[in-house]
């Protein structure tokens, strides 16, 4: 018997007793919002709690200038952007004197490792946990883009911020059905492996800059 059949046989033999019993009731209503007064306000507060910088702008027209501001403040000189990012953002960054590389054709690992920052959008924001979720479609690009550069500037629409994890999961279902990868980002990379003292910045981007639009 091959391992697959053997394991399946062992499972079936092992659970005979419970299969005869009543089905297990899962007492949980999926996809429900978590009540809160100000969803976007909570999101901002929780992202800042991870020591990330968060800026709010009123309209999409304000985004390019804010992107330039946060990147310049972080001392960035070179930026990579995925395809699908607004041309106006890219132009503004270039006009501010930063070198801009578009990930088309795909940029190699070694080159990405030398680029200072990446600018992307995000699919969903989770207020309660201060989380950004990227589903790596247009405007978000390949996973490696948001991994090797040391600064990640992420632009999210206020409409895409939901209260908590259940609502986020519901919104992400279509992306998962399309077999898109998801990256959940809550603050910069961090570790608590040395005496459980939190240290920001290990392998992922050490600086996370978030711009909330609307």
């Amino acid at each position: 018997m091959n391992a697959r059949d053997e394991i399946l046989r062992r499972i079936r033999a092992g659970v005979k007793d419970v299969r005869r019993g009543a089905p297990v009731d899962v007492p949980w209503r999926y996809g429900q919002p978590t009540p809160m007064v100000d969803v976007v306000g909570r999101f901002v507060e929780r992202v800042e709690d991870y020591k990330a910088r968060v800026e709010r702008v009123a309209t999409p027209d304000d985004v390019p200038a804010m992107v330039v501001t946060v990147l310049a403040d972080a001392g960035v000189t070179s930026v990579v952007v995925p395809t699908g990012v607004e041309d106006t953002w890219r132009q503004a960054v270039a006009a501010a004197g930063m070198r801009v590389v578009v990930d088309d054709p795909p940029v190699g690992k070694a080159e990405l490792n030398e680029i200072g920052a990446v600018v992307t959008t995000a699919s969903v924001g989770v207020a309660e946990t201060g989380t950004l979720v990227l589903s790596h479609g247009p405007g978000q690009g390949r996973r490696v883009l948001t991994l090797l550069p040391d600064v990640h500037a992420c632009v999210i629409r206020a409409d895409d911020v939901v209260s908590d994890v259940p609502e986020a999961i519901a919104r992400l279902r279509p992306a998962i059905d399309e077999r898109r990868p998801l990256t959940w980002i809550s603050g910069g990379s961090a570790t608590s492996d040395i005496e459980l003292a939190r240290v920001e910045g290990v392998h992922g981007p050490r600086t996370l800059l978030v711009i909330v639009v609307g």
């Binding site: 062992r10 499972i11 899962v26 070694a110 990379s189 492996d193 040395i194 459980l196």
Partner: protein, 525 residues
């Protein structure tokens, strides 16, 4: 456990990676012996006490923020139970969806088979080194050593696992494997070892955690960028989509699942959850229970191969290695609900004193003492001793996000260990004593005789000791081993049953012959 592994005992022998301590984990000394060894290390006790206290406090704060915490736990328990009940169906569904998404699925009945599959896949990918995401199941199957024996260097990339690997050490905690090391020790390990296996530690490295972390980033960056093959575990495998989930903090996991061409994920069969929606429950429970954060910094979810993004050669190895044995045990199977958060060890008074190395397993603490003897079986002395590494206080029950009833499983496994002792033909003191006690208590006349005799002993001793001493101290051999850690009360001068009889025959009065001063047991009819 693993036939393909050959152990190199000298740390200076020709090896690609730092040698772990010699010997197999299942040959470890029994828990009481190992615990004594660990307790002698005051540095360890100090490090552990600080670390577990910190993490307990953090967890409590984050859990208190969630009003529906208990509902989440109940839901998680139910989801896991419902999954285990139809584990075969969900595994087949996951397999079908993984294959549809371009992944290759392999099944391994035990550690040796899992290791062989991984070694063959790594070799086929044409590399002699891999980078690893921290994973308990790859520790369990001792994958690194199997790869080492096959001429492949497996580099740990989680900071704590790196500290353990460079320190020629073993992990002592599920979540923070280097919890037993303090910053000064870590600095020394980095300075001493990093240069031997790659980018050396920077000159003048201090023991500041931020500097140590920066050194690890520098040491590993090169390895990430040149890696063509990696391995990961999986926190969850979603059956209805074939999605694998890796929950992490540092970004090393993202590096490993994104940068190489070939990704091999080794996943225990109990990691499957039925639907993507089920993640809404676990993604709320896991980060708060394990690191005490609202959310961990990074979670990667991927479904087979994503064209143009990340590894294009994706493999998933589904590992049994004793899990179906645990599944067949109606009481023991609840251990398979575990999501490896480590909250149980952080609250355990035993773990908090002895640390993870006393358990002779990659799974220490409360979950370790119920999981290890089920996965490995109870033929090794250490595995029979593990269920006794508990006070049955139940602190672990209160924090477990999937509501495992630890004391229930512990008592059940103690029963099994006792039965094994009974079945063993060699004489055991405990079995012998219990046999005698069973015989004495088996008939009323014998029982009365025993209580009369013990009453007599009590009276004599009390008279002799002037009533001041309440306990025996040291007892002569063979009772020495029992008495060195326990107090045996001096027997009551009047057996309880006699007191009771007298009391019942003269209601409302102090039993005759018993002054309140002399009474050993308060009698309340």
């Amino acid at each position: 456990m693993n036939a393909t592994t050959t152990r190199v005992t000298s740390r200076d022998a020709a090896r690609l990676t730092p040698a772990p301590p010699p010997g197999l984990l299942e040959d470890s000394p029994v828990f009481p012996i190992a615990a004594k060894r660990e307790l002698a290390n005051s540095q360890l006790r100090n490090n552990l006490a600080r670390a577990t206290e910190t993490i307990r406090t953090k967890r409590a704060i984050r859990v208190a923020e969630v009003p529906r915490w208990e509902d989440l736990r109940t839901a998680a328990e139910a989801i896991k139970n419902a999954t285990l009940r139809h584990l075969d169906d969900y595994l087949l569904q996951a397999e079908a969806n993984l294959i549809k998404a371009g992944a290759h699925v392999h099944w391994a009945r035990d550690a040796a088979q899992a290791d062989q599959i991984v070694v063959d896949l790594v070799k086929a990918s044409g590399v002699d080194e891999i980078v690893k995401v921290k994973s308990m199941v790859t520790q369990e199957i001792e994958m690194n050593e199997a790869l080492e024996a096959a001429g492949v260097a497996a580099w740990e990339t989680d900071l704590a696992e790196l500290i353990v690997q460079l320190g020629h050490d073993r992990p002592s905690h599920v979540l923070v494997p280097a919890i037993h090391r303090n910053r000064a020790e870590i600095r020394d390990i980095f300075v001493e070892e990093m240069g031997r296996y790659g980018t050396p530690a920077p000159d003048g490295l201090t023991d500041d955690p931020a500097e140590l972390t920066a050194a690890a980033r520098q040491h590993l960056r090169d390895k990430f960028l040149r890696a063509r093959t990696s391995t990961s575990g999986g926190n969850f495998l979603v059956a209805d989509t074939g999605t694998l989930v890796v929950v992490e903090s540092e970004g090393n996991g993202r590096m490993c699942v994104t940068l190489p061409d070939t990704l091999i994920s080794v996943v225990g069969i109990e990691k499957v959850v039925p639907t993507f929606e089920d993640l809404e429950v676990f993604m709320q429970l896991l980060p708060r229970s394990s690191t005490g954060e609202r959310m961990n910094p990074y979670t990667s979810m991927w479904t087979g191969v994503t064209p143009g993004d990340g590894p294009q050669n994706v493999h998933v190895v589904l590992v049994d290695n004793g899990r179906t044995k645990a599944l067949a045990d109606p009481i023991g199977r609840q251990a398979l609900r575990c999501i490896r958060c480590s909250a149980c060890m952080n609250v355990c008074p035993i773990y908090g004193h002895v640390g993870g190395h006393a358990y002779g397993s990659v799974y220490p603490g409360p979950i370790g003492i119920i999981l290890t003897p089920q996965l490995r079986g109870m033929s090794a002395p250490v595995d029979r001793s593990l269920p006794y590494a508990s006070t049955l206080c139940g602190a672990c029950v209160d924090v477990c996000p999937v509501k495992i009833n630890f004391p229930e499983v512990i008592v059940h496994l103690r029963h099994k260990a006792a039965d094994l002792k009974k079945a063993d033909r060699r004489p055991h003191m405990e079995t012998l004593v219990m046999g005698v006690v069973g015989w004495l208590f088996g008939r009323e006349s014998r029982y009365t005789w025993v209580t009369t005799a013990s009453g007599l002993v009590g009276r004599v001793l009390k008279a002799g000791l002037d009533g001041r001493q309440k306990f025996f101290g040291w007892l002569p051999w063979p009772a020495t081993r029992w008495s060195q850690a326990r107090d045996l009360p001096i027997p009551a001068s009047q057996p309880f049953r006699r007191q009771w009889k007298k009391r019942s025959s003269s209601p409302g009065r102090t039993p005759e012959g018993l002054s309140s001063h002399d009474r050993d047991t308060e009698v309340r009819p």
